[in-house]
Each structure stands twice: as C-alpha cells, then as structure tokens.
Amino acid sequence: MLKILIEKELKAIILSPKFSATFSVCAILIVLSVFIGLRDYQAAVAQYETATTLSNQEMREQTSWMSLNTRAYREPDPMQIFVAGVQNDVGRLSSINAFSQIKLENSNYSDEPIFAVFRFIDLTFIVQIVLSLFAILFTYDAINGEREGGTLQLTFANAVPRVQYILAKFIGSWLGLVLPLLIPLLIGLLLLLLFRVPMTGDHWAKLFTLIGASFLYFTFFIALGLLVSALTKRSTTSFMFLLVAWVTLVLIVPRAGVMLAGQITPVPTVAEIDGQREGYAKERWKQHMDALTERWEERNAGLQNLTAEEREAFRDDHSWDWMKEDEEERKLVQRDISEYDRKLNEDLRNRKATQERLGFLLSRFSPASSYQLAAMHLAGTDISIKPEYEDAMRDYRDKFISYREQKQKEEGGGMAGGFRIEFNSDTGMKISGDRDSGAIDVTDVPVFEAPQYRFAAGLLPAMPDFGLLTLYTLLAFAAGFVAFLRYDVR
C-alpha cells in the first residue's frame, strides 16, 4: 500500500506542469551559483598568489633587517565556493611588523564595494531562499489540495490507513523533490573537477555534509508544508500562511535576532579599543623616554671630569653596552604594550562572544539561520574566521620578529640598515648612515601558516545546528502527522 501511494506521489509531482518549470529554475540556479563561486574563488586565488608573491618580492628587495616587514594574507579556501559566509566582509590581510597591531584589513567588500552592493550568490543562498520556497510550492496543497480536488475522498473510500497515507505523502514528496536536485548538484561537483579546484578529502567530507545539511533544511520545509496543508481546509489559505511563515523564518527572524542582540549587549567599538590601546602605549613610551633621559644624564654625569679624548674613549667602550641596555628596555615596553593589547582583545572578544551567542541564539528560532550557521561552520567561513586568523597572525608576528631580531644580531651590531643620530657637546651632530651592503637573504624567513579548518573542527560547532534542524523537522513532521490523523477528509 505504501509503495502504491509513494509511486503515485512521485508521479503526481513529476507530471505536474510546475515541476518542470521550477526544477529547471532550481537546476540553473544551483549550477550558476557553483559557477559564480568558482570564478570568484579563482579570482581570489589569483589575487592571493599575486599578493603573496609581491609581498615576498618586497621582502627580498629590502636592504636591511631592521626595516624588514611583511604582510600575512588570508588564504582562499575552496569551500567558499559554496558558503561565502563572512569571508568577503572580513579583512584579507594584516601587516606584520613590530609596531602595529594585528588586524585584518582590506576586506573584499571595502576594497571593491561594487561587489557589496548586491552581495554574493552561493549554494547556501540558493538552498536557503530559493529551494525552501520551492519546497513550499510543492507541498502547500499536499493534503487540502487533494481534498479540494476530491481525490482524498475517493482514496479514503478504500482501505487506506491514514498513517501510511501521510507517510507516503512525506516520502513521496521528499523523493520527488530531492532526487532531481541531485542532478544539478552533481553537475556542480563535475565543474569542480573540471576546473581543477584543489579539493582535499577533508573538503569533500565538508561538502557532502553541507549537502546533507541542505537536504535536512529542505526536508523541514517539506514537513512544514505538509503540516500547514493538513491544518487547513483550503489550499489558498495554506499557501498564504506558508508564504508568511517563509518570509518570517527566512528573511526576518535571522536579521531581527542578531539586531536585537546587538541592542541588548553593546560592545565597545574598535575606535574605543584603539583609543585605550594607544593611550596606554603613549603612557608607556613616555615613561620609557623619561627613564631613558635619566639614564643618559647619569651616564653623562660620570664623564664630567674627563678630558675630551678620555670621554671619547669612554663612550666608545660603553656605547655598545648602553645601546644594548636601551634596546632591552625598549623591548620590554613593546612586550608590555602587546601584553596590554592581548588583554584588551581578550576582553573585547569575550563581550563579543556574549553578543554573538545571544544573537545567534535568538535567530536560531528560524531553521534558516540554523542552516546558514551550520553551513558557515562547516565551510570555515563563520565569524570565528576573524579571531582564528588574527591569533595565527599574532603567533606568526612573534615568530617573524624574533627571526628578524636574531638575524639582526647575527649580522652585526643590530645597526645594519638603521642609522644613528648622535649629539654630543664635543662633536656636535653626527649622523651615521647605514652600513647595509645590498640585499639581505630572506630565504629562510618564517612563512605564515594559515589556520587549518579540519572537517571535524567544523563539524563540532555545527552539531547544535544540525540537532536543531533535525528537531524542527521532526516537530513539523510529528505535528503534521497528528494533524492529518484528525483531518476531515470530506
């Protein structure tokens, strides 16, 4: 019996005129989204490669270790083809040097605002918005449409158990709508192979889990459609109701949730944080300068009674030690400042985390948000991309700076490439120019290693959302089940 009913359901979906229209639209959109994502990914890779090459070239052209700086770039990941997430909003690079903070700057959207005007189209977007609408379009009249058409009566004039009927409706519509979608998805995957996207096993695992999440989300809307059509007598009513539910769940709740959270838990702005940081740094440097002046006065005090030659000799003897002493002091200041910065960041991050948790919690009342969040976690384009990259870049900065300092020491005096301005009452002003001798050898400079998003690392934070999606789907289905058992088939 179940088989007969499912067969009929499949046939009814495939034979309906709206099927071919909507199916072709969805197929085109899915393939299009993969294609656009691919092109975008390729452009991003090209940009990334040029940028890193140029940055390396700049390093090679440096003539002194002291002025050696670099930049670290965020690496494009093939998963962004399917889930753009916030990767266009978050900065692409940070400069790596001793004096400035690690901060991702130059987001794609701020560099090229043209792409921010209408934003991105990716598989997640198509699934989240178009496919859910598609699911509603096919299930809004699943029950009440048959009642209106009179076929429900005729069916239940036979020995058909209701449980089997509603189950068949669900399975039939699921198969009828999901199986055709596999075709454009497969074409999309073929495109990946065709364009030689470097997909690792991890990427494939993420991609298939993402497709699984998409189907789960899609299933929710099928179940919702069945539920509403089993609650209402007229298909126009159920359609109206579903469309309103769709607008609310897909378009309104996610945005409203985050905005509400933003208002409940305000977070200090970057400008305020920067202000605090700079204030501290200024204070610390001032202390340092004062101490420095004092030290020089002390050192000079010891010279009071010497002749000019003696002074010169004394200076030559001690200047290296003095410089080392000053240098140590300077490093201490830098360490203090970066320590303070770390603390500030930690604090900011905690407060942001609270805000994010609340915002996402509120928006998760909608399965559309759950789906999107799960997809972003899987793809590694969720908002944690920013702190994770910044942490990695901070580590890299430490490595880079210690490498540079070591080199500086090795290659003599810590002075190479710098210049020194001396005043003393005897010789007046003296500027000693650089002792640098052409290019430096940067072949063994540490290379920035981007944080790796393993499949398991993405799956774990996505689990609650998977759970929620499953829960929503089960709830909708169970409610639809119960509603149909009491449905008046007349």
Binding site: M1, I4, L5, E7, K8, K11, A12, L15, S16, P17, G149, G150, T151, Q153, L154, T155, F156, A157, N158, A159, V160, P161, D488, V489, R490
Partner: protein, 264 residues
C-alpha cells in the same frame, strides 16, 4: 426542530424489520449530530441485500450524503452504526472499506494523470493489483469512454467522462457493495441512461448498491427499494413492486408535506 421518537414517522411498506441478518449494507439507528448541534441524521435504519439497489430520495440537506459519509467512515456516528457485510464501519474502517466501492456526485481524479494512470492507481489502492492495461481499457469501454480518451490527461475531461472513470474505478475494485452519491446529477440524458443500464448490470452481478439521488423517475426505474428522506429521517420506504403503479412524484410531495405537517 423537535425530534420525537423516530420510527412512527417511517411508514413501513412491508419491508423486513432490520435485523442482524447478513445484509450487505445495513444502517442501524444511524444518528449523526454535528458539533454545531445540527442533527443531520436521526435514527435511520435500513438494509440493502446483495443484488439489490436502494435509492435514497430527498432534497438538499436531507441527510443522504451524511449517510454515505458514515458508511465510508469519513465521519463517526453519534449513535447507532453502519455495517458493511456485518463489519461495523467505525470500528473496523479499513476492513469495511475493502468491501465497498464509491462513486461521488462529482468524480474528481488527478488532473495530471491520464485516465489509465488514474485507474491503475485507484485499482491498486482498492487491492486489485492483477490488472493489465487491457483490462483497464475493457472496463473503460464498458462504461462508455471512447478509446481515444484513455491516454488523455483528466484535465480536459467533461463531467460525464469523469463520472464514467469513477464508475470504472468502482467496477475495477469489484467490491460486493457500491455507494453512489447522486451519480447522475449533471449528466446529459443519454449518459444518464447508459449509466442506469450499467448499474442494472452491476446489480445483476450481485452487488449491493446504495445510491442517493434527486431524480425521482430514475429512482423508480431502477431501485428495488426507495427510501424518501427528509430532515435526517426516512419518512417513507417502499419496495418497487408496491409503488409500481403510483405517481411517485405525488407520493414524494405527499410524504414531504405530510411530514412537515406532522412536525409542525
């Protein structure tokens, strides 16, 4: 509306009183009061044996469709029971429904399926899985649907064609009892005539047939027993032989009027 004791309004023209005999279709004090308080069916009792046609006559809202819905267990009785082959419909609906075929007033099928696809689905739903395409064609020809329509989608079918498909489905199910809800309303005279012939042949095959109709003359032509319903009750029930010579139209009007007087 005041409802006093029931059966005094029913005139029993030599019909066997309802019993636990093995009638194919039996209504036993069947009563339905809807949630809004309307008493749609008021202690209705009748039987239809195999090879018999029972016609329910009555105006709109007399309770004919409610009776059929109760036999199909689309609604549950407030009191009494409907039995099909001795099976109480609201207790074992699935077993009971194996024994009946149903043709509604306005047969609606899947508009995107062809006639053959619709037949195939509903035949299998009715438990008949052994049919071939040729069997379907044969039945469709028997009910008078031309060959060229067999592979057309139901979308463009006229009401008459749809009714023919409906009766074909009922024939295919080959159930011992058939319920028909005003099956001839809206059919042209020729189609109506063919339909009646078809019913007669089904009766001759031994089916028990319960039909509701507005059409007094057709009822007299074909029914073995006629029950006239008004306001949820059977106000007159008589065998074909008893009323053969009478003017059924007058009788109908008389009973309706008489009943109204009695109630008032």
């Amino acid at each position: 509306m005041e409802t006093t004791s029931t059966n005094e309004a029913v005139t029993n023209h030599a019909v066997n009183s309802p019993s636990q005999s093995r009638a194919m279709l039996a209504a036993d004090n069947l009563t339905k009061r809807y949630e809004d308080g309307v008493l749609a069916l008021d202690h209705v009792t009748f039987e239809v044996n195999q090879g018999h046609i029972y016609a329910m006559l009555g105006g709109n809202g007399a309770g004919k469709t409610t009776t059929i819905n109760l036999f199909l267990n689309f609604i549950e009785p407030t009191e009494g029971e409907a039995r099909i082959n001795g099976i109480v419909t609201h207790k074992e609906p699935l077993r009971a429904k194996e024994k009946i075929a149903f043709v509604s007033e306005n047969v609606m099928l899947y508009p995107n399926f062809t006639a053959l696809q619709n037949l195939d689905f509903f035949a299998r739903l009715g438990g008949q899985t052994g049919y071939s395409k040729d069997d379907y064609r044969e039945v469709l020809l028997r009910v008078g649907l031309q060959e060229e329509a067999h592979n057309k989608r139901l979308k463009g079918f006229s009401k008459g064609m749809r009714q023919k498909c409906g009766i074909a489905i009922a024939i295919l199910k080959d159930a011992p009892a058939i319920l028909l809800d005003e099956p001839t309303s809206g059919l042209d005279p020729k189609a109506g005539f063919e339909f009646i012939r078809l019913l007669e042949s089904l009766r001759d095959e031994g089916k028990a047939i319960l039909m509701s109709t507005h059409d007094i003359f057709r009822a007299r032509d074909i029914a073995d027993t006629i029950g006239i319903m008004n306001q949820g009750r059977i106000v007159m029930q008589s065998q074909k032989s008893d009323i053969a010579g009478e003017d059924l139209e007058k009788l109908y009007m008389k009973y309706m009027a008489g009943y109204m007087e009695q109630v008032n």
